[in-house]
């Protein structure tokens, strides 16, 4: 278990001045700041729009979206928490197969909604610390729709700053997917391997 320690924002800036230091200390949870969490989401949103506006094919958009998930989201922890108590009984091989299948499922499912964002914008409006993580708020303005709230939860618990949950108009991605994965597991009578195979085919 990596030990966690906290630094104040000022001390953090004074000591490093760059998040690159986090890479220099692998395995150690770094103290993220409100500003850095907000910057992370701003970069994510900007990369997201670069991908959308590149005007690539749908297949290209999917792979771009998978790349964004890889860079900005902590898929292992999201997958682990979505599987819940069943994570504990999964073997190492099952765990990594599940993380892989779940990542593919998420990028297919949400990647197909990419085009809804065309012509719209997401404006990051603020950030605050909550317990050991950060809440970054944003407003999505899509064509012909009233603006709505999108909340990003960011943590550096993995050693790197990553998004670990997304809440769109109150709808929580992690809890919603936890229920879906739970239903898939029930349908397969608790058989993890069969559920993982299902997940690979789900969209």
């Amino acid at each position: 278990m990596p030990s966690k320690f906290s630094l104040t924002r000022r001390a953090f800036l004074g000591l490093t001045g760059a998040s690159a230091a986090a890479l220099a200390l692998p395995g150690r949870a770094w103290a993220l700041t409100v500003g850095a969490a907000q910057t992370l989401v701003e970069r994510l949103v900007s990369d997201l729009y670069d991908a959308i506006n590149s005007g690539g094919s749908e297949a290209r958009m999917f792979s771009d979206f998978a790349g964004l998930l890889d860079r900005y989201a902590d898929m292992p922890i999201i997958a682990q928490s979505v599987l819940g108590v069943d994570w504990r009984r999964a073997s190492t091989a099952q765990r990594s197969a599940f993380v892989d299948a779940f990542s593919g499922y998420i990028s297919r499912k949400y990647g197909s909604r990419f085009r809804e964002l065309i012509g719209g914008q997401i404006e990051v409006t603020g950030a605050r610390a909550i317990r050991n993580f950060f809440e970054v708020t944003s407003v999505a303005r899509l064509r012909g729709e009233a603006p709505f709230d999108v909340i990003w939860l960011v943590s550096d618990g993995s050693g790197q700053a990553r998004v670990f949950n997304l809440i769109i108009q109150g709808i929580n991605l992690r809890t919603t997917e936890a229920e879906e994965v739970g239903a898939m597991l029930d349908r397969n009578r608790g058989d993890l391997d069969a559920m993982i195979a299902d997940l690979r085919n789900a969209s």
């Binding site: 902590d74 928490s81 499912k109 050991n132 618990g157 949950n165 809440i167 709808i171 992690r174 969209s203």
Partner: protein
């Protein structure tokens, strides 16, 4: 009214005592969607050009504005009442009777509300989860609200036949357009999800509670579980905090 709004249930709380009959109703709604709604909506969306569909949708939703205003007043939300009144006047005149939506184009969006929300503001709690025929997810409180709304809707009271039939027609067209526009999402929920009933229930309740919460800050302990924590079902849960 002095007692303030009802307490919203925790993010993961689900009260569904009649789950078996709700599931049966959900299955019926899916069957109706498959046989009628989906194909008709696809036909409507394909045959009718987008500007016409949008115009009919605008017309239909503009006629809901007076009902919003009534509920805003009952909730003592006078700023929302003014906003919705202004929208209604603007769209009914400059928007050619509501076919266009210049108010939204100017950034003045509808503050949608209903009598279910009014009941919430008056202190009535959510009640049980209910699946309604055709209309889908609701709660016992919001179902009561729907009935009151349909009785007290000023637009419905103001027009007799045949105008009221045209309004009903516009509402049906708007519903078909919504089914068409949300096609992929509803298809996924109804036909692809491992348990579409449970997904629809969770999505509906989360979104409804969020709407009712308004500008009130989230109860972060409940709504934001930390998956880094060892608690799995708290949505604002931090998974890193082991």
């Amino acid at each position: 009214m002095a007692c303030g709004p009802a307490v919203l249930p925790g993010a993961s709380e689900i009260n569904d005592p009649t789950e078996a009959s709700n599931r049966a109703m959900h299955d019926l709604n899916v069957a109706v969607d498959r046989a009628v709604l989906r194909p008709v909506a696809l036909g409507y969306g394909t045959a009718v050009p987008e500007p016409v569909r949008t115009g009919l949708g605008n017309f239909s939703s503009n006629l809901n504005q007076p009902l919003y205003v009534v509920n805003d007043i009952l909730q003592l939300r006078l700023d929302d009442a003014l906003r919705n009144t202004f929208r209604f006047l603007m769209n009914s005149t400059f928007g050619l009777g509501g076919l266009l939506d210049p108010a939204s184009e100017g950034g003045l969006y509808a503050e949608e509300t209903d009598f279910g929300e009014t009941l919430h503001v008056w202190g009535v709690s959510e009640g049980a989860y209910v699946v309604l025929p055709l209309l889908g997810p609701s709660t016992s409180r919001d179902t009561a609200g729907l009935i009151v709304d349909s009785v007290m809707n000023p637009t419905r009271l103001a027009f007799a036949r045949p105008e009221s039939d045209y309004i009903t027609g516009a509402n049906v067209a708007d519903a078909l357009n919504t089914r068409y526009e949300l096609g992929d999402e509803i298809d996924r929920l109804y036909y692809e999800s491992a348990d579409g009933y449970a997904q629809a229930r969770l999505i509906y309740l989360q979104n409804r509670r969020y709407e009712l919460r308004g500008n009130q800050p989230t109860d972060s302990a409940d709504a934001y579980s930390d998956p880094y924590d060892d608690s799995y079902f708290d949505p604002y849960e931090d998974p890193y905090a082991q």
